[in-house]
Symmetry: C2
Subunit: 247 residues, 2 copies
């Protein structure tokens, strides 16, 4: 249930409140937003987990007002679900939503590849290869959480290179939601992005072959999708003992 926080250790995460500089308020909010968002994307906060305003306010050393703002932002990105008078919890995507997200990625990410192939510079290609390398490293060393986040970052950066900020933002949101989907419907040991898929993709892009990159991205996404167990779970009788055995 509620993971009873050791209240004795409730230090504000990083010298906070009355410490002179107030100008960092905005940055601080941004940092807190990323903290929570990362925790969700890396599955340290699992779908369904409740996010109480008081608790978060205490952890980060700001008032509920700021937390609410952040929670609303996360809700609009569909990473958390806001239930009136019940508070916030990490979104648990349905199988339908998962299907929608992957169909959308198929359309947008694939559609972006030709433009990316046209625009990508050598520096950007190198940057992406570095990111792909870090994903591989994380996968090899078993850091699945890190791998998921890094992989999402790779796809997001790729979309940015298309030059269309609007579509890039869409892709980033879709990737975040994909992380949630992996948390619910993914199988351990079968993480979506295969080891060298990203590198193969980079080869097509660097050679300016947009069409092959597009086709490859399509297969890549299909492979991730195929690795999911998208059968609807029985909502009727969940095994509470198994689900909460870790608590």
């Amino acid at each position: 249930m509620n993971q009873r926080q050791d209240a004795s250790q409730r230090r504000p995460a990083g010298g906070v409140s009355r410490t002179g500089k107030i100008g960092d308020g905005a940055e601080r909010h941004e940092a807190i937003y990323h903290s929570i968002s990362d925790a969700i994307i890396e599955h340290r906060l699992k779908p369904g987990a409740r996010l109480r305003e008081d608790a978060l306010a205490e952890v980060f050393g700001i008032s509920r007002t700021g937390i609410r703002k952040i929670l609303q932002r996360l809700a609009l990105e569909q990473l958390v679900t806001l239930t009136p008078r019940r508070g916030a919890s990490v979104t648990r995507p349905t199988a339908d939503e998962a299907q929608d997200v992957f169909d959308a990625r198929q359309m947008i990410e694939c559609g972006l590849m030709p433009e990316v192939a046209r625009r990508i510079t050598a520096d950007e290609a190198q940057e992406l290869r570095d990111m792909a390398l870090r994903v591989r490293q994380a996968l090899r060393s078993g850091e699945q959480s890190a791998a998921i986040k890094l992989s999402a970052a790779f796809h997001g950066r790729l979309a940015q290179i298309s030059g269309n900020a609007t579509l890039a933002e869409f892709v980033e949101r879709l990737c975040s939601r994909s992380s949630l989907i992996l948390a619910v419907y993914g199988n351990v040991g079968h993480l979506g992005c295969e080891s060298h898929d990203h590198d193969d993709l980079m080869s097509f892009l660097e050679s300016g072959n947009g069409e092959r990159a597009q086709a490859f991205m399509g297969r890549h996404l299909k492979a991730i999708e195929a690795s999911l167990s998208l059968h609807e779970e029985g909502v009727e009788a969940p095994d509470l003992f198994e689900i909460f055995s870790g608590y």
Copy 2:
């Protein structure tokens, strides 16, 4: 400082809580959100117009807290821009952003057409034809504001029929932003959506011809895009009381 006597007296007076339904708080916020959003989409609030929290709070009879929540939501949809310590104003899209939005619409709306053609039912087709009719009527009677909103609604509803809620939401947001773009770069008398474009599109969809619908949608969007120009309009201070007088 804390005059709690007021607190005890504050009780029923306004009758906000005594008027039976208390649950309308959420609905009220939703209604206010739509009021502002509609005012922006219909160009009663023009790009660049400042939206002061105090003024809005007074107009709608709620506190700044609620207004801020609504403003933040609008900001995440990119209808308003939030400048730190400067407050909110109606977003003035740049030419680049306009280009991005129309490129995105080109990709997503066109890509959705085959699926829409496959799924559309007779009832839905009729509903859309009715919407197209209302757009035409508004155009004929010179109600450009109404026409813009109705046209955006048409495109949004169309996307919903694809069955992909995620992409439909994207399209709705793109259409809202398109309204803003029309306000800044559009020419009077040359409203984006031509009179029978929507009807022609419906014919293709009803006959199940997804490919032709897709091609036609592409031309339709290109035509809107081509009708834009880069001349910027002046911005006058809006009279919030007048704009929301009907509330």
